[in-house]
């Protein structure tokens, strides 16, 4: 064998060895943990690592709840890691990091958490401890499981509605918020004022997708729009509600002019800060979650505002009162070192009525545990009550969980931003193409 051939053989062998090593090392550990004990331990001990996404004021509310848990279980120390978003937690779990409890802000990833086993199946714990899941509203029960696998429990929910500035509406002669989208459009036009240069000084309603909570998913319930067909294909081209939503939105954008809106939103201030344009009185009406009540209380307590369900499409007035509902979901990471204590913490945070009420009162999220919803200790003013009503509305809806996460929403949002900028000439053709893209992309998560 000559030298060149020998070297080539050695290199090939090395490459094959490395490839085999790559194959062996790729992937992730499977869920090998043993099932829970037949009865809950009398005394809990050890450390629980708890990752959640909340920060600042809201993180303090979570810490207070954790402190209550530790006081009730002196043998357990909870190591809290705040400000951890879904991307970080998924990567950490995949890397084998032993996270005991994970709190996610989005139900969009629940399909992935459940289907991959990244979050443990809680069913054995739920059954063993006889947790009454009927105390959780149906829509919430649905978005906390995937393919009948319950890998999470709900920990408060976010419900969307309309916020309006009472002072600005009164100055324009309005005493009531709009109930239909054409009313919203007319009122927004009248409420909008311009400066000497012709730029927007106060916007009646900013319709631009991407501004604060203006996501297609949040507007969809007002049109009754559905994302998927029963066989899992994208429905954005076939369901006329999507075209109606985009047509309404574009008409509002055109009322102002896209460039003027862009200039206005560029200077509108960060959404989650005291510079928020609604809190500053620069926007008369906007869509937002119930948590805004707490932000306003903390950052702009003198603001005179009201809340209402988001207006419904003119031809779907029966949808008025409903809205977009999503929520925080909490589960046990597959690498959990102390699953019994982790489950005890989850059960405490999601089903202990006093704890749920205390957290809800602080961060103004909607309780997902019915006894907490009905508790007299739950502080309810008119602005917060709106969201409790939307939450209770049978027509309120959420975004469907898929095993591929929320890529379908991002693809649609991309099309929607092109549309609002006037880059789409044929709406229906564009929707058809978008549906195809959504289906094509989901094929990446399936066997070819």
């Amino acid at each position: 064998m000559n030298i060149r051939l020998r070297r080539a053989t050695a290199l090939s062998a090395s490459a094959v060895a490395l490839a085999l090593l790559a194959t062996a090392c790729s992937g992730s550990s499977s869920d090998t943990a043993s099932p829970p004990a037949s009865s809950a331990p009398a005394k809990l001990t050890g450390t629980v690592e708890f990752w959640h996404f909340f920060t600042d004021r809201e993180a303090k509310a979570i810490q207070a709840a954790v402190d209550r848990f530790q006081a009730a279980n002196p043998g357990v120390k909870v190591d809290v890691k705040s400000g951890q978003d879904d991307d970080k937690t998924i990567q950490a779990i995949a890397a084998g990091q032993p996270i005991d409890v994970v709190l996610s802000y989005s139900t969009d990833q629940i399909g992935k958490f459940c289907s991959t086993g990244a979050w443990k199946d809680l069913t054995p714990y739920v059954q063993r401890d006889k947790v009454d899941l009927n105390q959780i509203p149906t829509v919430v029960r649905d978005y906390t499981q995937f393919d009948n696998k319950r890998c999470s429990m709900p920990m408060l929910s976010d419900t969307y509605g309309l916020y309006y500035n009472k002072k600005l509406l009164a100055a324009a002669g309005y005493t009531e918020p709009p109930k239909t989208l054409s009313e919203l459009r007319a009122m927004a036009t009248k409420l909008t004022t311009y400066d000497a240069k012709g730029n927007i000084a106060v916007a009646g309603f900013v319709p631009t997708f991407g501004f604060y909570e203006n996501a297609p998913a949040h507007f969809a319930p007002s049109f009754g729009a559905t994302w998927f067909t029963s066989d899992g294909k994208s429905n954005v081209a076939n369901d006329p509600a999507w075209a109606s939503m985009l047509t309404w939105q574009k008409s509002m954008v055109d009322d102002y002019g896209y460039d003027k809106l862009t200039r206005f939103t560029a200077g509108a201030g960060d959404e989650f800060s005291a510079a928020n344009a609604f809190e500053k009185g620069k926007v008369a009406m906007m869509i937002d979650g119930e948590y805004r009540n707490a932000f306003i209380k903390a950052e702009a307590s003198s603001l005179s505002y009201g809340t209402a369900p988001f207006p419904a499409a003119d031809d779907k007035s029966d949808l008025y009162g409903s809205g977009y509902v999503t929520g925080n979901v909490i589960g046990i990471g597959r690498g959990a070192q102390n699953p019994e204590a982790a489950w005890a913490l989850i059960k405490f945070l999601t089903t202990d009525t006093d704890t749920v009420v205390a957290v809800a009162n602080t961060i103004k999220n909607v309780p997902t545990w019915t006894p907490a919803l009905q508790s007299p200790a739950l502080e309810k003013d008119a602005n917060y009550q709106t969201f409790l009503d939307v939450f209770a509305n049978a027509k309120s809806s959420t975004t469907p969980a898929t095993a591929s996460g929320k890529g379908y929403q991002d693809t649609f949002a991309k099309f929607a931003t092109d549309w609002q900028a006037g880059k789409v000439s044929d709406l229906q053709a564009g929707l058809k193409d978008t549906a195809q893209q959504i289906d094509d992309q989901s094929s990446l998560g399936q066997n070819p």
Binding site: C25, F53, T417
Partner: protein
């Protein structure tokens, strides 16, 4: 005699050869032991990830489950169905073609002026180098706030002068040029290398050129350029590789300009804001890999990026010298 000589010779050379071989192996082992840290680092942090990425590019893999072999499915999707990739690839190519030459030309011009300065050289060097020390995220944040169409001082000055007030990072036609402006602001890293290269050009060559009566352009073309071409080549190759991986500045500019610079809850970041004009290849790779968790597909994207980067580098190394008029650079 002849035979005996040959036998004696053979008998005498065998142990000597064995000794030489042994010494050679010992020398090799010594060399290898010195190289070991680098070799291990390369194997663990370059060769293994490269092969693993190549393997994963033929799989369906979501980071949380075991990879499943899917053949060329990811590559077929990439070249036939991924519409956002086309936009990301176009934006990346645009930035590579415009940003890299713009930064190099500006840095070369500044370095050339710097060479001619008679006084205050230290101050000017510091002033032009300082932006390179600013963390990229902080630099982008400052730029986006300066160029904010509604509240930024740049537009306020333009407005006061009666000039048009562009939307800058909020305008799909101006967002990439705005990123180029940002890149030109931070030329300190290559400017300082160019300056060293220019100061290294032998003065006798300029004197000889002056005696030959060359004009300034000829002096630059036939004296300066060939001398600094290795430095230019280095800047071009590293610049192109960096442009192909352009990520941080585009992500931060898009998220801040769109008003979505928040974590936790709320609306998702608007990718490539505005209207996908700042979506780069590296961003799309990240989104597909770590937002949508199509790690197999992201690996395929990474493989193609590696091939493109390698091709650019090889072409530049082979042909770049000809463009710059230097034989050295081609060798």
């Amino acid at each position: 005699m002849t035979t005996a000589t040959l036998e004696r010779g053979a008998g005498a050379t065998a142990p000597a050869r064995a000794g030489r071989t042994s010494r050679r192996w010992r020398r090799r082992l010594v060399v290898l032991s010195f190289l070991a840290p680098w070799l291990l680092g390369t194997l663990i942090f370059f060769v293994y990830p490269l092969i693993d990425t190549l393997y994963l590019s033929f799989t369906r893999y979501d980071l949380l489950s075991q990879p499943v072999w899917v053949g060329f499915h990811n590559y077929v999707f990439m070249f036939t169905k991924d519409q956002q990739l086309r936009q990301a690839a176009f934006n990346t190519l645009w930035l590579t073609v415009i940003l890299v030459p713009a930064r190099m030309l500006f840095a070369l011009a500044v370095a050339t002026l710097m060479v001619r300065l008679k006084s205050g050289v230290g101050i000017f060097r510091t002033v032009f180098y300082l932006p390179a020390l600013v963390p990229p995220v902080a630099g982008v944040l400052a730029f986006v706030f300066l160029f904010n169409p509604a509240t930024g001082p740049v537009n306020q000055v333009l407005g006061a002068l009666g000039l048009p007030e562009p939307l800058w990072f909020n305008d799909p036609n101006l967002s990439k040029p705005s990123l180029v402006l940002l890149g030109m602001w931070g030329i300190g890293d290559i400017m300082i290398i160019f300056l060293a290269g220019l100061l290294d050009v032998p003065r006798e060559q300029y004197e000889a050129a002056a005696l030959d009566g060359v004009n300034p352009w000829q002096r630059f073309r036939y004296v300066t350029l060939p001398n600094v071409s290795p430095v230019l080549m280095f800047a071009a190759i590293t610049g192109i590789i960096a442009a192909l991986q352009y990520f941080t500045e585009a992500v931060v500019a898009a998220s801040v300009a769109s008003g979505q610079a928040t974590t936790g809850g709320g609306n998702a970041n608007i990718l490539g804001y505005p209207e996908g004009s700042t979506l780069t290849y590296a961003q799309w790779l990240y989104v597909m890999g770590f937002k949508n968790f199509y790690l197999g597909y992201a690996s395929a994207l990474a493989v193609i990026m590696f091939v493109v980067s390698l091709s650019f580098t090889l072409v530049l190394l082979r042909r770049g010298g000809e463009l710059l008029g230097s034989e050295e650079a081609t060798s």
